[in-house]
């Protein structure tokens, strides 16, 4: 009896251990690329450019039932020019039993995390769109990289 009880406890604990807590999942990358065909002689690039509306998708998973949550965003520069500003907004509210608010207007992404949007419950396929500003021929020719980091906090 004692043996069975302990085995049951271990089984529950194992299940619990591998059933992780809340999870945020990001799918997709964003590549902005310019060529000489984008401008004519004498012109500068358009100062702002946007990515596709559905290029990146966010899922909010494995929450406690109908828990409230918030998501922060920041960037971690690998090789980035500070003249170029990065903005993000959500273009959909996702699918699922949850709901989301905030984040529909463009938010400037800094290197320090800041709240991007909040919600309640599980959601899939929240589409994200990006905008860059400060694009100019003055920018040295190069390929610039940064990482966009989203952090989910269960409340």
């Amino acid at each position: 009896m004692q043996y069975k009880t302990i085995c049951s406890i271990v089984f529950v604990l194992i299940c619990n251990t591998f059933a992780n807590g809340q999870e945020i999942r990001i799918r997709g990358d964003v590549d902005f690329s310019f060529t000489y065909t984008n401008i004519k002689a004498g012109e500068d690039y358009s100062l702002e450019t946007e990515s596709k509306q559905d290029g990146v998708r966010m899922d909010i998973k494995k929450l406690k039932r109908q828990a409230y949550w918030r998501v922060t965003v920041n960037k971690s520069d690998i090789n980035w020019d500070n003249q170029v500003k990065v903005y993000v907004r959500r273009t959909s509210s996702g699918n699922g039993n949850g709901s989301v608010w905030g984040g529909t207007n463009y938010t400037l992404i800094n290197n320090m995390p800041q709240t991007f949007m909040q919600g309640q419950g599980l959601l899939n396929n929240i589409y994200l769109q990006y905008k860059l500003s400060g694009i100019s021929v003055e920018l040295p020719a190069n390929t610039y990289y940064t990482d966009i980091v989203y952090t989910l906090y269960e409340q």
Binding site: I39, G42, E43, E138, T143
Partner: protein, 187 residues
């Protein structure tokens, strides 16, 4: 065996307790921006043909000379340039690439500095004027990452002037001579 299970259960409890303190998770994705090196140049207005002619002598015995038709200042040189960090500045060369100036005549080219500011690092004229030939000659230098803006009245104004250099060599055997002037932007 029971002892081992007991120890395992304690370890798993500790692990779960530790997980329980974690109320956040994160994920990330890459974002890239590719900016190419470009050098674009254009003479504005497009499809404009410069026409120059020498004035008739005013009096018998005078030489054919300059008049309003021997000069043209209606074209402008526009360019956009993007270069690598610490790349070399660009220059613009001018040359006659087809046709030749009739004997006894020359075409001088004056390239003005920008009168309306561009963006970034635009160039300066290299000399006050040159006499066009079939050899490339520098007319603008010091072009970095920048642009002149596009259209008439932007960029470097070009002033062509037809000049009589030697009346003895002047032979009028054709009413018009066609030339092509080519501008090249390069390191």
């Amino acid at each position: 065996m029971i002892k081992k299970l007991f120890i395992t259960s304690i370890l798993l409890s500790c692990l779960n307790a530790a997980n329980g303190q974690s109320y956040w998770s994160y994920d990330d994705h890459g974002l890239s921006l590719k900016m190419p090196e470009i050098s674009l140049i254009s003479v504005m207005p497009t499809n404009y043909t410069v026409s120059l002619s020498l004035g008739l002598p005013k009096n018998a015995g005078d030489k054919p000379g300059e008049n309003i038709d021997s000069k043209d200042d209606n074209t402008w040189l526009n360019y956009s340039c993007s270069m690598k960090y610490r790349g070399s500045y660009r220059k613009i060369y001018a040359q006659i690439t087809s046709g030749s100036v009739p004997d006894g005549l020359a075409i001088d080219l004056e390239v003005k500095d920008l009168q309306t500011q561009g963006t970034g690092t635009w160039g300066k004229r290299y000399s006050k004027s040159i006499t066009l030939s079939n050899q490339p000659q520098i007319v603008v230098s010091g072009i970095g990452g920048g642009c002149t803006k596009r259209g008439r009245n932007f960029g470097h104004q070009l002033i062509y002037e037809l000049k009589l250099t030697d009346i003895d060599e002047l032979i009028v055997d054709d009413d018009k001579t066609y030339l092509t002037i080519t501008y090249t932007i390069s390191d």
